[in-house]
């Protein structure tokens, strides 16, 4: 494996390219017309246009992606997450084109990738699951589906059969909302996964969303790499993830790990995978939700607490290598605490309205225990066509308390100008008492919503910070007004412009 095409964009494409570079593997980026100037294009050795901005015509266009790999002589494709990463048809097309797909075999993807099949498989393997439909709702099957929903009792969840990442997922609390929620879930599922099928599951109240990272090689070995607590969710989108979970005891971890590894082995899984579980907040019973057959967005927290590079492992295993660690090695090496926050181009004060646009300036956090996985830089355009996540900020420390304080500090250092991001909202979450205590369920953000919105300053008097803001604004405005009044010679000149002018002068002589 000498050259890998990275079939993705944004931060994950940048992240995969980094490991490839460390391993001496050449990289090929793909880009849509909206992403010609994107950071991931510059992080790779080669880059190929795959179509117009709409994902369906570019990042999801299998023929174009495979053609790009052939054209550049790549011998493998890393799909990242989202887009084609859990598409078995694509994995097969790669194999047919003589390309290594860095992920599980298509059969395992089909068995685990489609949620309803995964549930059946889990039931066969004796893994506990949440009550729900075993098949997606067929066309024209709404009436029967509604009957089923009444049977298991509201509230219910509508979930995309092909789904993941919270897209095409709706909580329905009342039968009268079924139709509109069903239509929305189908539309979102179709747009995100090119597959509009949806199924019903009973909604578990006050659940923890905890997942187990598993790894399997082509020699039949599989291990787990600890859990990730992903219960900080807004509308089923993960916002903050951490490892270890405050509610998972060593016994529970071992038990969930064992079940996850069994699930992976049952489908002859290969590579990085994640088993998602709902854990009952009271009884600590856990239910298998689904297996994500790809690298997860939140994989950095596992990397921080294991010291591993999961992308390197993915590549080594795709090359036919053995797992470098045994389960005992994992237990010996798990250490510290890691927390990750997802930075979204959205405005929490305006109902989380997406905020695409040009980033005028970007300052990333630094210092001890800080890791940035960022897909943009100063001057980057955040296109309106794709997911609003522009990067992830993860922090590591010896204890949970320190890791949270560190992430809080690092989010404060993060400045994104030109577009609105959720950094202060993220800081607000870290300040919530319920989060600090560690035993929080997926309802955390809904319950804390009022406290998480920017608080209006009380009273007419200016605060000290407002006075400083006004002073800064006035100093800046005075400068602007004076610039306008001053002759243009006073304008700052860039070194490039000066060099250009000089060489032009020399030529004219």
């Amino acid at each position: 494996m000498n050259k890998i095409l990275i079939a993705n964009r944004g931060e994950i494409a940048v992240r995969v390219a980094r490991t490839c570079r460390e391993m001496g593997i050449r990289t090929v980026a793909i880009f849509s017309d909206a992403d010609r100037a994107a950071l991931h294009v510059r992080c790779c050795d080669e880059a190929v246009r795959v179509g117009p901005p709409a994902s369906r015509e570019s990042y999801l266009a299998m023929d174009n992606v495979i053609a790009a790999a052939r054209q550049t002589g790549a011998d493998a494709i890393h799909p990242g997450y989202g887009f084609l990463s859990e598409n078995a048809t694509f994995a097969r097309a790669c194999a047919k084109a003589g390309l290594v797909f860095i992920g599980p075999p298509p059969e395992a993807m089909e068995e685990m990738g489609e949620k309803t099949r995964a549930r059946r498989k889990a039931i066969e393997a004796g893994v506990p699951v949440v009550p729900g439909q075993k098949e997606p709702i067929p066309e024209g099957g709404e009436a029967k589906a509604k009957e089923f929903a009444l049977g298991i009792g509201y509230p219910i969840m509508l979930k995309a059969a092909a789904g993941g990442g919270g897209k095409g997922m709706r909580l329905v609390e009342d039968p009268k909302d079924f139709d509109s929620a069903y239509a929305t879930a189908q539309r979102e599922a179709l747009s995100a996964f090119n597959d509009g099928r949806v199924y019903i599951e009973k909604a578990v109240s006050r659940p923890h969303h905890i997942e187990i990272q598993v790894f399997a090689d082509t020699h039949g070995d599989a291990i787990w790499l600890g859990e990730r607590e992903c219960s900080v969710q807004r509308r089923h989108q993960k916002v903050i993830e951490e490892t270890p979970s405050a509610i998972v005891t060593p016994q529970l971890r071992a038990e969930m790990g064992r079940v996850a590894v069994n699930a992976a082995k049952a489908v002859r899984y290969v590579g990085a995978g994640t088993c998602e579980f709902l854990v009952d907040g009271h009884t600590r019973n856990f239910y298998f939700l689904e297996m994500n057959t790809r690298l997860q967005v939140e994989h950095p927290v596992t990397e921080l607490c294991t010291g591993l590079d999961l992308v390197r492992w993915q590549i080594e295993i795709a090359r036919g290598g053995r797992l470098p660690w045994t389960q005992e090695d994992v237990l010996k090496n798990l250490r510290g605490h890691a927390v990750e926050a997802r930075i979204y181009a959205e405005d929490p004060a305006r109902n989380f309205l997406p905020s695409p646009g040009t980033i005028l300036e970007l300052r990333l956090a630094d210092g001890p225990g800080v890791r940035n996985d960022c897909g943009v830089e100063s001057g980057s355009e955040v296109p309106r066509y794709y997911d609003p996540m522009i990067g992830k900020l993860a922090c590591f420390a010896q204890t949970r308390e320190e890791a949270i304080a560190r992430l809080h500090r690092a989010l404060g250092e993060t400045v994104v100008k030109g577009i609105t991001t959720n950094t202060s909202y993220l800081r607000g979450i870290l300040e919530l008492e319920e989060f600090r205590k560690g035993d929080y369920d997926t309802g955390l953000l809904a319950r804390g919503a009022d406290r998480l919105l920017p608080k209006a300053q009380e009273g007419a008097a200016l605060t000290e910070d407002e006075e400083l803001a006004l002073a800064a604004a006035a100093i800046w405005q005075l400068e602007q007004d004076q610039k306008l009044a001053a002759p243009p010679v006073a304008q700052e000149q860039s070194a490039w412009a000066r060099a250009g002018r000089l060489s032009a002068l020399r030529r004219s002589r």
């Binding site: 929305t184 695409p356 202060s424 002073a471 100093i475 405005q477």
Partner: protein
């Protein structure tokens, strides 16, 4: 130089003059002596008394500025005499009269929920705009009648495009 500032809906006066390499800033009669260094981009480093802060300034339209002090963004308006007069002549920020509903971000119109001439209630959904795979329902700012409808299903719109007028 004298500026008029609006912070949280309240008007303030800000006078500024260079003084011994620093700036003398008088806000509503309160005097500050501020040492300022201009940084790259729209940013200044301020020393006021002994306090050291970095202020990032993001200019908007019509004198609107967002000033980041430490970790908090302060939206404010800074106007000179002329701009203040213009602002006062045009500035009506009540819900009386026709209200425009504009596209809050660039995106695509996925659904139009009303027709021209429809009576709508305050908070009723008018148009659904999709951007970044998320659907956003734009609601009516007041009860009234849809007098203009510019939103077309399937059309791409730029930020600030006029979609609906409710009168």
């Amino acid at each position: 130089m004298k500026y008029h500032a609006i912070v949280r809906g309240q008007e303030h006066t800000v006078e500024i003059a260079p003084q011994e390499g620093k700036y003398r800033v008088v806000i509503d009669g309160k005097e500050l002596l501020v040492d300022a260094v201009h940084l790259k981009g729209f940013a200044v480093s301020l020393l006021s008394s002994a306090r050291s802060v970095r202020c990032d300034i993001e200019p908007g339209k019509d004198g609107q500025l967002s000033v980041l002090v430490g970790e908090t963004v302060h939206p404010l308006e800074l106007l000179d005499e002329r701009r203040l007069r213009l602002r006062k002549a045009s500035g009506k920020f009540s819900m009386e009269g026709p209200q425009r509903v504009d596209a809050p971000m660039p995106g695509k119109i996925v659904r139009v929920l009303v027709k021209a001439g429809d009576e709508v209630a305050e908070g009723q959904g008018l148009v659904v705009v999709e951007a970044m795979k998320m659907e956003n329902e734009l609601k009516s700012p007041k009860a009234g009648k849809v007098t203009e409808l510019h939103a077309v299903e399937g059309a791409a719109v730029e930020s600030g495009a006029k979609l609906v007028v409710v009168a």
